[in-house]
């Protein structure tokens, strides 16, 4: 039954032509020998899983969250106290975010020590660093959204520090705040960046990242 369905779809899409080389390619024995799998090669995948969890929980949060100084705090309180499963969804969003950053850092460390950034993979390393910066930017913009004391003051410090970069700093600070101080413009642009600009950019770069991993194959033995 499943087989027939697969064949029916395959006849019309030629899906197997693209899918099978990916499915059949052998995994090198230093990654997994069939008995033991080296867990350091799973870190990129774990980061990706966290991203998927973040997208799904984020969609639910976006149904209740209101990005204005008057309503933001109250809407988060409402999620925490009144929405069924709301506190759980928000907590999963927060934990998955921290887990993603940790996984990305460890993934970067694994790529460094296995020498996987060497030719021909230099470009994928550079894309990787950008992915890392985007991941932290997610954290920075997300931190402000609950509009509580920690959110407000941590962002104040963050923007102060960024404004201290010579030459471009003051402009970046102004751009981040949408004016001279943290207020309604800051909150709505952090929300737009957090929920539209960063996810789309990350998804696009991840596509290229994975494509390059497919083109190069996983890097060789490091011991």
């Amino acid at each position: 039954m499943m087989k027939q369905l697969y064949e029916w779809i395959d006849k019309r899409t030629k899906l197997s032509k693209y899918w099978e080389p990916i499915a059949r390619h052998p995994v090198p024995s230093h990654v997994s020998d069939g008995v033991r799998t080296n867990p350091v090669y799973c870190l990129g995948g774990i980061a990706f899983l966290c991203f998927i969890i973040l997208v799904i929980t984020g969609m639910f949060l976006a149904m209740y969250y209101k990005p204005t100084p008057d309503e933001a705090y109250e809407s988060v309180r409402y999620i925490m106290e009144e929405v069924p499963m709301g506190a759980f969804i928000r907590s999963v969003h927060s934990w998955a975010a921290n887990m993603m950053i940790a996984a990305v850092m460890l993934h970067m460390i694994r790529v460094y020590f296995t020498g996987a950034y060497k030719p021909p993979r230099e470009l994928n390393w550079v894309i990787g660093v950008v992915l890392f910066l985007i991941t932290t930017a997610f954290g920075f913009t997300g931190y402000l959204l609950p509009w509580d004391q920690l959110a407000y003051w941590a962002t104040t410090i963050g923007i102060q520090i960024t404004s201290g970069i010579p030459v471009v700093g003051p402009y970046v600070g102004k751009l981040l705040m949408g004016g001279g101080e943290i207020g309604p413009n800051t909150l709505s642009r952090f929300y737009a960046v957090h929920t539209i600009i960063l996810p789309l950019t990350l998804a696009l770069l991840l596509g290229i990242h994975f494509l390059l991993v497919r083109i190069h194959g996983i890097s060789g033995r490091y011991l």
Binding site: R77, V92, L133, L150, G164, I165
Partner: protein, 134 residues
């Protein structure tokens, strides 16, 4: 490199799936035991103490506290920001172009390994410095 080995699907992916379920389960468990916090509403006129940035920015925060030396006309604070934010990120991006050695065996690239360990130790050190020293 890929003469033999198990095929990506389903053998290898199945192992991945086990790890993925474990990861997801730990996230759900942590979220149930330690829910996300929500403090008092933002008040621009009252600075709470202490305030910390997210843990992955602490190393920048710690480095800014650590670096107290003016270099010529450049203020200490500016130096701290440039080194920990601009210089460090640039260095990370440039890794493949700085390390031209094509050897991947860990034991045959001692300098890269030592520099890597020092970098991790430094980031950890400044992270702790950011929390401990007020």
């Amino acid at each position: 490199m890929r003469v033999r080995g198990l095929s990506f699907f389903p053998n290898f992916l199945l192992r991945e799936v086990v790890i993925m379920f474990t990861t997801a389960a730990s996230i759900f468990l942590l979220a149930s035991i330690f829910p996300a916090s929500l403090l008092d509403p933002a008040n621009p006129f009252e600075t709470p103490k202490p305030i910390f940035p997210e843990w992955y920015f602490l190393y920048v925060y710690g480095f800014l506290k650590f670096w107290t030396w003016d270099i010529g006309p450049i203020k200490a604070k500016t130096m701290g920001i440039v080194i920990s934010m601009v210089f460090f990120q640039l260095l990370l991006i440039l890794v493949p172009f700085i390390d031209r050695n094509t050897e991947v065996n860990l034991k045959k690239r001692p300098i890269a390994v030592i520099l890597g360990v020092i970098t991790i130790a430094a980031v950890l050190f400044f992270t702790i410095y950011g929390i401990v020293f007020e």
